[in-house]
Symmetry: D2
Subunit: 416 residues, 4 copies
């Protein structure tokens, strides 16, 4: 598995794409935004994606051969942030979760046939997809090792059984990438394996919907049931037994692109609040409140700029060293998900009563981003991992000769 | 205007009422709660209020002669907190905003006839009411002095003209207490006056609804238009020109009862989270995450207990010294509105994906309490007032002889 | 062991004492404050204590028969807060740690002879004392159960061996209350026992000093060594084997009085900052910065008022129910120690460069209160206990019939 | 004024220098650290600087021709962070404030003669310097425009009069760069001018010392008096009247290098805490507390990584666009100064009683970094500037055609 050879566009081409993406979002996408709390319709989705193709801004992360703009990971941040300026922007550009992560995965580990059959229509926006990982307690949640869905080999291929939930995007999806536990077999280690399952396979069924407070992911977050779901050998994505490793490969960039998109929404929120507080200034509202508003504005700028900085740093590191980049993506995920939430929360505050009504979209934005502190590994799980990695890093350094500094010096009996 | 003579029930009677209120909420009210995001129907409201009357827990703050439990302000906190354990509890007990504040006001400054005509049915739950204060920018918002609605005397009484918004409870209300600017006239100073306006008066009209993210206040937060709305002299509540003073009288306790009710919901949220994390412990969830959960739990307990403490302190002070109590209610409002929000936000986090779905009510609770940081004077406005009062308090002390301590001592030219 | 019968002074007497204490601190104590970073000399201490006796404000918490003002616990907060307005105020009034807690303990469980020999001179300020509890890792630190100092009975009494550290006040103290592990013996359970050890006992020795950043506790925080330290039976304080129970009795109020004293210093800090920002206003400093200053001031007021409220609530509860009060004192300790630190930190910020110099005392105040987040049980230890108590409380409620609320409702397969 | 032509070393050379700097700090500098609270002696300073020269790690930011390592600004962060791992590291490497900023300034705007006379010995560590900007209230503090020190032309050059304070490094310095107000004269605009003043000039005098809580800046922060201080024309640094512009040029990188150095100390603090908590794990300390420790550790890692990210981003921007970089340096300064403080504060907490004693250096580190939230423009001043820039940025965008988004939509009269 090696990173695909993108012919990276030059700095100027990226800046040009950024400018065109920005214009497209403001001129075409924003006027099409549904009322707060409503989801984008499928027909609007199709119309906007066609417009994005026409404007040459469609699928920035997808190789040119599949109809995208062919940007390498390091160049995603500035484009995805522009896309995220509208909650429906990433959908319009076909760089929304979970499809975007699935495209990335298919590109990295799919066979040519799988790319033809699954990546091509997905990249073109002709189908949507989902990723079947999370299970009801006590199955795979924060801890992937608890995976309970199984796949057993039979004569014709595999039989998958299990119960997934929070399967984002499943309603109306064309296919699902299903994680299932598989036994050791020949060279293949015991572990997890990924399967490409068509949603019209009679063995897979979308169950109860879960009504969450976010609206931007088309296809909801339903339960999905796999009951003796039969798939051929060609449905295996990547190698048998390496599913957890691939999941990590998917998750590092996937959680970082979430950061990018939501950062765009934080910028949007601040613009809304600045427009409002700016006008109030014009109408002569009490200067006495201005100072407290400045605190809210400045802290929001600091949250936005530090988020942008850690995103860029992580994207660069992911491109250079996937393992180190994945570890840093935990830091980025926790920081950005909390920073973005704080920004929007402050902007709600800056807009007063309108901030909590649907006269402005801010309250809904708050609901859009709240789950990100939980999705993709809850922030507490990431903090647990961050702390353990820090302790292990330091332990290795001391073992390698760095002076141990944890003992207090006792300085003798006389007073100083 | 003097506080009405409640014959205060003894400590044991209050504790007994608290225990019965707690049982009523858990046994009768909680099973009747609507699905997250839905409002209570009017028929359910009527059924629950009748049940509360039957259980002897109805209207804890209302004088016995009007069918309530006759508690003085100092005893409200523990009862209102029990009521708030369910988002519909205060409605079931008829101690929800804005009615509760309007009852308090009518009791304090209404004429016997006004009490008969307005307080009696309001206290009984037979009608609902609203309070017409907030106006569209640049009218009365955070700054009441900007009031633009006017009332002019004519031969038969008064003609009121103006435009209100965020008129909580107006849809379906029986009457509205309208704040309007009035000119000096004889003994009456220029300022604001309160009027009791029947909602079937042809001069008053409920306009556009404002869709906010909270659901517990029956009757929405619509615009209300007053167009040559004619009312007789007997519609004046209290004295002409003293409306701002009365509004302060209303707002001190009114914002404190909000704190009490929402604190109950914070306790509920923590119970939900504790139930969940407790069960997870039973099923053997990874102990490694427990510590981060403990941080969230402990901080929530601290927020709850400090909120309870400042509420009690403020209630005691309001009873002893209305002006000082009203000033302290700003502190209580800011602290409690933020503490309660933090508690629920942490509980969402503790419940993972279910926390942001409607499988649990927590995400909706977050939406219920978010506006409280804005309603009743935004927290920024209160902080501005708190800072100014602190500066003025200190200035007075120094003027009265306290040593000024703001100058840095210069300690001579040699190094120490 | 029952609370001593104080004849509680009336409300007016307490308010009078508060006013006189306030005046004494401002007129007599503040002019005697040493330069930031320096400790009070013993002669100044004696002079100020005599002045306090003359002014009738000495030892507010000590029974009248021992020369104090005889206030019950509920009335301590307002007086101790006035005392704490100066960092040397509690010493001047002889209500500083660790003496104050030791007096409380001796009063509660000492024999008449012990009170005569130890409480009387301690209450009079004629000797200082210390409390030998904390030990070097892995002995008794956050976890008292790890106690390693032992006391063995012999013919003449007891032999104590062990090593203490952070023995606040030990340098120059007249006696030490030593916690030591004792075996079960007759009726006495295995556990810990408290011993009154004269500091001129040849078996006890003050060892290495520990230089901490605080200066207000006279006598430092040194190591103390007990080497075959022989004491008679009459040195046992309270009953053999009940030392841990007594320690809890001591710690609940002791940590709350810390909160009271430091809250006084927070009020002082805010006054310093208000004096300075007030004057700057006079000299026409840019109004644009005022808003950010208001944020700092308002948050400080909120921290101060919520601290005062939780202190009062905890003092009332300690008086009514020692066990529940001790549990709530954990909440008070965490909240107040962090709130007080934040207040002083903001005041440093409000005073700019002078705030971090010794031209103003604020930077030293920051160093005075920083350890309180660690002393008396680190805040993390308290939070751990708070979380566990909350979980246990809820578990008991559910076992007693409260409806379990931790399961997410699954709402059916159709989209809402 | 153009950036000097550094021949930038390649990535590998920088990484090699980083590794050698790291080794030098750990092997040579750390063993030479004075006891917490003490300053480095001049002789130790000289010894360490010679060792740094010998090790080829001296003066990383100084051009090779002046004896440094010749790194461009973009490469400073990783080296300065290594230097800052010891509080005396930057002094050992001669990249400590205020000398480092003065070198940068001299390099950018000094004449060849000035470089010869002032930069050469400063870069070599043969003399120290100071920067005379801040004045007592109401002079130049947060607001440079309030500058009151004046320079008047006379026959022989200039006569400077004024009073400076917080003149970091002045005691024992060889020269001072003095900011003074100058009148318009010919082409030179009215404004401020910088002068190079030898400290043995009889017209300049070091006055009262200001004892601040930090110890790492050699030469204190004293008052400095200029009384008819005569300097020749050749003492003007840069052009007459452009002093404020140069000060901005100096301050952007200067505050960023502070961030770099203190970030190193934050890393050091976390290592100390990790060493300690790691060992406690070995000795079997209660696992129950581990979780709360993990929260402190993880948040510290997040603070460190986001600080590193915003520093890198700002350094890159400063190199590419000085004005935009200077604006972003305000964000970096506020974030890093607060993040670093939080990190050290948490590490103190993790180390318990030893954390607030001088048995570990953490409490002193806290005192070292506290002033950074005030020095170089208080964080409140920067936040005020950040908020204003954000508002102005948005206003320009709207004026340039971006849709104004501040008005709430009114959605009609029917309920949804």
């Amino acid at each position: 598995m090696s990173a695909p050879a993108h012919t990276a566009p030059g700095r100027e081409a990226v800046e040009d794409l950024r400018r065109r993406t920005r214009a497209f979002i403001r001129d075409v996408v924003m006027p099409a935004e549904p009322v707060p709390g409503q989801a984008l319709t499928e027909s609007e989705r199709a119309r906007l994606q066609q417009a994005a193709k026409d404007a040459g801004v469609f699928a920035p992360h997808v190789p040119v051969e599949y109809g995208g703009q062919g940007l390498p990971l390091q160049d995603w941040p500035e484009i995805f942030e522009e896309a995220g300026y509208s909650p429906i922007g990433p959908t319009a550009l076909n760089c929304m979760a979970p499809d975007e992560g699935n495209m990335h995965m298919l590109e990295l580990i799919g066979t040519p046939e799988q790319k033809q059959q699954y990546l091509a229509p997905l990249a073109a926006g002709d189908v949507r997809s989902c990723f079947g990982m999370t299970e009801p307690h006590p199955g795979a949640g924060s801890d992937p090792d608890a995976l309970q869905t199984t796949a057993r080999r039979n004569r014709d291929g595999w039989l998958i059984n299990g119960h997934k939930r929070f399967t984002s995007g499943a309603i109306g999806a064309g296919f699902c990438i299903v994680m299932a536990r598989t036994e050791a077999d020949g060279d293949a280690p015991a572990g997890a394996t990924m399967f490409l399952v068509d949603m019209d396979n009679p063995g897979i069924r979308v169950g109860e919907h879960i009504h969450t407070i976010d609206r931007t992911i088309g296809g909801g977050h339903p339960h999905v049931y796999l009951e003796d779901c039969a798939v051929p050998d060609s449905a295996v994505l990547g190698e048998v037994g390496l599913g957890f490793k691939y999941a990590q490969v998917r998750l590092g960039p996937a959680r970082l692109t979430h950061c990018m998109r939501w950062l765009g929404l934080a910028r949007r929120s601040l613009d809304i609040a600045l427009d409002r507080t700016g006008k109030r200034e014009i109408f002569g509202s009490s200067i006495s409140e201005l100072g407290l508003a400045q605190e809210l504005i400045a802290q929001s700028v600091i949250d936005i700029e530090t988020s942008a900085a850690i995103i860029t740093r992580t994207a660069d590191l992911l491109a250079a060293d996937a393992k180190a980049g994945s570890a840093l993506s935990s830091v980025a995920k926790v920081h950005c998900s909390e920073a973005v939430y704080r920004v929007i929360d402050r902007c709600v505050q800056l807009c007063g009563g309108d901030g909590v009504s649907d006269g402005l979209p801010l309250a809904q934005y708050l609901n859009e981003v709240r789950p990100f502190r939980i999705y993709d590994g809850s922030n507490e799980t990431h903090k647990w991992a961050i702390a353990r990695r820090a302790s292990a890093r330091r332990r290795r350094e001391v073992e390698a000769g760095a002076p141990y500094q944890g003992d207090a010096v006792v300085r003798g009996e006389q007073e100083r």
